[in-house]
């Protein structure tokens, strides 16, 4: 067991964890952040995307011990009293159907807009290449990210 201290959505947790414990399982099963789902086991789908120290990571390919001392933001911590512009935009553009990929898609999009606040459609598509959606055909996801960018969402 390793002792780690991780700040998740603004709250610091100290826990003993198995060295092999994946960050996503730590978040879901120890911290109770079930808003972040797991969609695959090879880091292809991106459903589990969270921010670690402000940068998007696939939490299925990070060990909990690697997050020791880090600040993690999940979909549950991205809103600040009101919905984040990306949450609003995904709703407004019908950019989700079953919603399973949505937390990861929003977290990845937030990181995209951090590094490129005004992406064109092709840059949005390529920027979200690591996140799979099976429902929407991506059309409305692209629209939502564009809408959020136009509203000035940069984080």
């Amino acid at each position: 067991m390793a002792n780690i201290s991780v700040t998740v959505d603004g709250v610091t947790y100290t826990d003993d964890v198995e060295p092999r414990l994946l960050l996503v399982h730590y978040l879901r099963e120890r911290v109770g952040k079930t808003g972040t789902p797991v969609g695959c086991d090879t880091s292809n789908c991106g459903a589990c995307t969270v921010h670690m120290n402000g940068v998007s990571v696939k939490s299925c390919s990070v060990l909990a011990v690697q997050a020791d001392g880090a600040e993690i933001t999940t979909i549950e911590g991205i809103s600040n009293g009101q919905w984040h512009p990306l949450q609003q935009a995904f709703h407004a553009e019908h950019a989700l159907q079953c919603g399973y990929c949505t937390p990861g898609m929003i977290m990845a999009a937030a990181d995209l807009l951090r590094t490129n606040p005004h992406p064109n459609d092709q840059e949005i598509r390529e920027g979200l290449e690591g996140n799979l959606c099976r429902c929407t055909g991506y059309e409305n996801i692209v629209r939502a990210v564009r809408r959020a960018a136009e509203s000035g969402a940069t984080s």
């Binding site: 079930t34 789902p37 090879t42 159907q97 399973y100 055909g137």
Partner: protein, 788 residues
């Protein structure tokens, strides 16, 4: 919003934002894998690494000895109680339906088949324990190719042989149609095997509370599942509650009764503690039922002006190792769809269901209809090429004209409406068809190494599954009705219960729109409940684009009953004649004296108080309705796709895609457009990217999303969508939209690729049309003297 002073804007037809989204965009979701119960244990499965083998031993001792492991069971441990997984569609009287134990006991017949289950305190320990289970196998030869599986010397998947059934269908005089026909074209098309790939992996949680079982499952079919679990396990149906909480997509893959669901009940009963199982993606690619996998031999006869005379279809359909819930029925849905929108004199269809040592196939978005549409739309292009006609021209020569509806097709379906001319005209206009044809001709003249191809798909489908009598005539075990109920609450709010079980389709929003208009209550005052057999006891669930056309009609029927009863109560309250009460925008009022009346909310409260009800009227304003459709619905449309094919690399790029669909009336255009987009993506994925591949030993080599190429945003184009509308024969005027995009787009894309390459002498490329396959086809064509 007020409903009792002025006419509110109709909700139906509005792009209302979804009620479902609030929990989904914030992570306040309730996926099955989120569920944690006190004392809950985790199951993990030991799965066969062999495609076909006899089990000689299962040694669970090391697993059982592992700290944190509570139990481990082999198939033999459950032999007396695990039963056989159900097939609800015995399509012929002599169909072979082999026993399908949830855990194999004697023989394994595909890689991934469950052999043992371990139960541990946490999922990591369970995975460790799986690794130390020692199973002895005596290898048997795999059976992998349905084209040779029926040979006499082929190894056998089951003792009964490799043939499950032969299902024939014939109308008209096929011999006469082909005799002396000026044009006869025969092709063989391959429908590759696909993995549905819903983003949420399957998950199950089960509890046994003194013989009362609750199972949460990521399923499309809580109601069907409940019946089937009772039949398989012998647990009395009334003691099983099935809950489908938030479910992350299905596409047919969660229209199933699975080994893991059955075993969760057996294990929780055995151990007296809640159990959970969540699959990994790799496990899911192996063991969630696959889709498609057919060889299609298709033959048409036509006159020299392009008029179709006859159609002859001979299918080989890969069942996989066992028949699951509707495995044999899937290709039969296609049987009715091969003639599509075309008139002809004769039609013959035969499907042979064949066993292999692979994961069973079953419903995947479109289920039988995409396969049929692909083959007919591909061969219509061949006919056009043979006669030197434009692909749209040869279609128009054969399609049912808009003034010929209702029309009974050669496949005996009665199409109630359609307007193929209108949809095609609109699609051509949006696409710029004529200008693109001209550009294509010019570039071909210039020998442009990047070739432009235009693909056409004028599809139709049968939706609204299904009239129960038709299902009965096709030997399906259940009906095709749907159920709804309405509860008017004392405060004037409304609970709507639907038997349709949404998993991304947006029922909570669309159903609210319908009820808002029907009852004149605000959209916001309506709550839609579904997916729990205790909350919504009756239903047939969600698949086959049936929710709106069947479930929506049940909803309207339930609203009618509320209105009828409220009229009677209002008449009594106002001391008026019931015949004099009219219902206008949520208000029951006296005809000719509209000031005298009550809002539906007031009537709901009065009914709750029950102080002054007519004699014999029960004090509730609730209703139930079950709707069984008279006929299928027949959405249709014209899809046009332009591709750029780089002949030097084989790379195909979709340049533009236009989808014009006629799905009847639209409840919510936002949701409809989303369904079309997603459907297109899945159909395009079949054309260009996806294929489940087994190697020569029967190992699935596409077990991850790195190998099985579900496309990303970067792999797909932007779509242009529009609609035309012809009436549908139900009160809502709706036809269904869930599968249209998937059915239409695959042939549109492949027709475009072939259209680009036909001048090189290429008439077919097996899907998925990867750069390598396209490049090889070009190389082969050039080697054979095709023009370069």
């Amino acid at each position: 919003m007020t409903t009792d002073t002025q006419a509110p804007q109709a909700q139906v037809g509005q792009a209302r934002l979804r009620k479902e989204d609030a929990r989904l965009v914030t992570g306040q979701t309730n996926w099955t894998d989120n569920i944690v119960l006190p004392g809950m244990l985790h199951m993990a499965f030991v799965r066969s690494p062999m495609a076909h083998a006899r089990i000689t031993s299962v040694d669970l001792s090391a697993a059982r000895a592992m700290p944190g492991v509570i139990a481990a069971f082999s198939g033999a441990d459950f032999a007396e109680e695990q039963g056989s997984l159900p097939c609800a569609w015995p399509v012929t009287e002599d169909i072979v339906i082999p026993a399908h134990p949830p855990m194999a006991t004697e023989e394994v017949r595909y890689v991934g088949e469950a052999v043992a289950v371990v139960v541990a305190r946490d999922r990591y320990t369970a995975a460790d324990a799986v690794a130390v289970v020692d199973v002895g196998y005596e290898p048997l030869p795999p059976v992998l190719d349905i084209r040779t599986a029926l040979d006499e010397d082929s190894p056998k998947v089951h003792a009964e042989g490799n043939k499950s059934f032969v299902w024939p269908f014939a109308q008209g005089d096929l011999d006469a149609a082909f005799r002396d026909a000026p044009v006869v074209i025969e092709r063989t098309y391959r429908q590759q095997r696909l993995i549905p790939s819903a983003m949420e992996p399957r998950a199950v949680v089960a509890t046994d509370e003194g013989g009362e079982f609750t199972i949460w499952s990521a399923t499309q079919i809580p109601h069907v599942l409940r019946v089937m679990l009772a039949l398989v396990t012998g647990i009395p149906e009334q003691n099983i509650r099935v809950i489908a909480p938030d479910v992350g997509g299905g596409f047919g893959s969660k229209l199933q009764v699975t080994a893991e669901e059955v075993l969760s009940l057996l294990v929780t009963r055995k151990l007296g503690r809640p159990v959970k199982w969540t699959e990994s993606r790799s496990e899911g690619n192996l063991t969630v039922h696959h889709g498609r996998d057919q060889w299609q031999r298709i033959r048409i006869a036509a006159d020299s002006d392009g008029r179709l005379r006859g159609l002859d279809v001979d299918l080989l359909a890969d069942m996989g190792a066992y028949l699951m819930l509707v495995t044999p029925g899937v290709p039969l849905l296609g049987a009715f769809m091969f003639p599509a929108i075309y008139k002809m004199d004769a039609y013959s269809f035969k499907c042979t269901g064949v066993f292999t040592t692979k994961m069973p196939t079953d419903a995947y978005r479109g289920a039988g209809r995409p396969e049929a549409t692909y083959a007919i739309e591909r061969i219509m292009d061949e006919l056009a090429a043979e006669l030197g006609m434009d692909p749209l021209e040869v279609r128009e020569r054969n399609w049912i004209k808009h003034d010929e509806f209702p029309y009974t097709t050669i496949a005996t379906l009665q199409y109630d409406s359609g307007n193929y001319e209108a949809a095609t005209a609109r699609a051509k206009e949006l696409f710029g068809y004529d200008a693109l044809r001209q550009e294509q001709a010019e570039r071909n003249l210039d020998n442009d190494p990047v070739r432009l191809g235009l693909g056409v798909s004028t599809y139709t489908e049968m939706c609204g599954l299904a009239p129960s009598r038709v299902l009965g005539s096709l030997a399906y075990a259940a009906g095709g009705w749907e159920h709804a109920s309405i509860r008017m609450l004392p405060t004037g709010k409304v609970e709507v219960v639907t038997g349709s079980s949404a998993h991304g389709q947006g029922h909570e929003t669309a159903w609210s729109q319908i009820v808002s208009d029907q009852l004149g209550v605000p959209f916001e005052d309506i709550r839609v409940l579904h997916g729990d057999t205790q909350v919504a006891p009756k239903g047939m669930d969600t698949y086959g684009s049936r929710s709106l056309t069947v479930g929506g009609m049940a909803l309207v029927g339930a609203c009618d009953k509320v209105i009828a009863k409220a009229k009677r109560i209002t008449a009594h309250m106002l001391e008026a004649s019931e015949n004099d009460i009219e219902f206008v925008h949520g208000r029951f009022q006296v005809r000719g004296d509209p000031e005298k009346g009550h809002s539906i909310q007031e009537v709901a409260l009065a009914t709750f108080a029950a102080h002054n009800l007519p004699d014999g009227v029960e004090p509730n304003l609730d209703s139930e309705a079950t709707y069984d459709p008279d006929n299928f619905s027949f959405p249709h449309g014209t899809h046009l796709c332009a591709v750029e094919v780089d002949t030097e690399t084989g790379m195909v790029t979709i340049r533009s895609y236009v989808a014009v669909d006629d799905i009847g009336k639209v409840i919510n255009p936002l949701i409809v457009e989303g369904q079309v987009h997603g459907g297109l993506a899945q159909g395009i994925a079949q054309a260009l990217y996806e294929e489940a591949v087994y190697d020569e030993d029967g190992n699935l080599t596409t077990t991850t999303l790195a190998d099985y190429l579900v496309p990303s945003a970067a792999d797909l184009p932007s779509y242009v969508t529009d609609r035309t509308e012809s009436p549908a024969a139900n009160r809502l005027g709706v036809k269904g939209v869930g599968e249209a995009g998937t059915i239409a787009s695959t042939p549109a894309v492949v027709n475009a690729i072939i259209d680009a390459l036909r001048p090189l002498g290429i008439a077919d490329i097996t899907m998925p049309c990867t750069p390598e396959r396209v490049w090889r086809a070009i190389q082969n064509a050039q080697g054979n003297g095709g023009a370069a």
